[in-house]
């Protein structure tokens, strides 16, 4: 399963979750296996942040192209929420400021119950 976390930092899994979704600086893609072990973590630049308007839809396009299953952010704007729903990417909210490692645990609890 592939998860995408939004952050303004560039320290991999130690980066903290941004206070905003579509206009965060970077996206950290985390691949986990069936028992939630991290297999791979990559940071990509979020180009959606640079568009004047329509950032919400653009970041979802990026995530869909990257075959993301779950998007993790502090909150999702109206257009981002609509687009995520439309392409079938699950969204999970976590408090901004926690690290991606911590966020991963929260997501694990929320998804696998």
């Amino acid at each position: 399963m592939r998860l995408a976390f939004v952050t303004d930092e560039d320290s991999g899994l130690k980066s903290r979750i941004s206070s905003r979704f579509a206009r965060a600086k970077n996206i950290v893609l985390v691949d986990v296996d069936d028992s939630w072990n991290v297999v791979k973590a990559d940071t990509v630049h979020n180009t959606a942040a640079e568009s004047g308007s329509g950032a919400g839809v653009k970041i979802v396009q990026t995530l869909a192209d990257l075959k993301v299953d779950v998007a993790v952010g502090p909150s999702f704007g109206p257009n981002a929420a609509l687009a995520l729903n439309e392409v079938g990417i699950k969204s999970v909210t976590v408090p901004p400021g926690i690290t991606i490692e911590e966020a991963l645990n929260e997501v694990k609890e929320k998804i696998s119950g």
Binding site: S19, R20, E50, S51, G52, S53, S75, G77, N79, A81
Partner: protein
Amino acid sequence: MLELVIASGKGGVGKSTVSSSILHYMHGEGREVFAVDADVEAPNLHLIFGIKEWKVEKPYSEGWVAKIDRARCDECGICRAECPFRAISVKDGRHVINEVICEGCLTCSLVCPRRAIYRVRVDEGVVRAGNTGYGFGIAGAKLRVGRPNSGKLVTEVKNLAKEIGGSKPTYIVDAPAGIGCSVVSALAGSNGVVLVVEPTPASLADVKRLHRLAKHFMLPSALVINKADINPEFADEILRWAKEENIYYLGSVPYDDVVPKSMVAMKPLLEYAPNSKAAIALREISKKFMEVLVDGWREWFRTYKPKKPEPYIPLIIKPSQNIK
């Protein structure tokens, strides 16, 4: 660090008057505040408080405009005929692009048989931050006439404010009017919203839409009714709505002609006419804002946070249909 947004949906309702009163009051109480003027198409907080110096001014650009390469152009006129915005005209026998009208769509470049048209970034203005005459920080932007506010621009202004202000101050964001892209960006990442409304159907209709946006972001809201006494029955109706929606009531401001006078004098109302009825009400509201929304933020957030996020349903309005 807290970031609280003052917004109204409808324009001209009193956002800047409420924002500037809160800033003035809290600063006077010895609190660290930072003014974020996200209403960059019509910024005015810097006029109310005066500016000591703009410490940082960064050029800002996001859109594109078409440019004609003079060496290649043979003045055939196809671009002018095809431009959907009629931005191209002929002056002294030469084709020229009006940069204010050009939307950067590049239809002209596509149809040009001589490939003489390219695009360049337009200089939209500057994002800037500095200190007000009162000593507290301020961030905003100055746009060239004709260039629009945007979600990206509001993000840049907020980011610059935090770069300069750091993690200590309470950030008061004076939001733009409307509920579009730039307002979405003003709310994103904030910690709560103050809805400013006047007792008119237009203002209430807009504030209801804005409140739905706040609920979408799972943000708690507080309410200020401005010019409440011009239509007291309607003000009561707004209060009933706020109660139903679990919105925290901060207070009402009576109509008072010292408000426009203070704007003419370019002074914060609380300083220009401290004993006027509007200033007395706004001081009460600012005090409550500081005690409940800032100092008591956790409790306020817990009590007034929406129960569940507002789902986003695109609103399609047919002619002759009323908005609920």
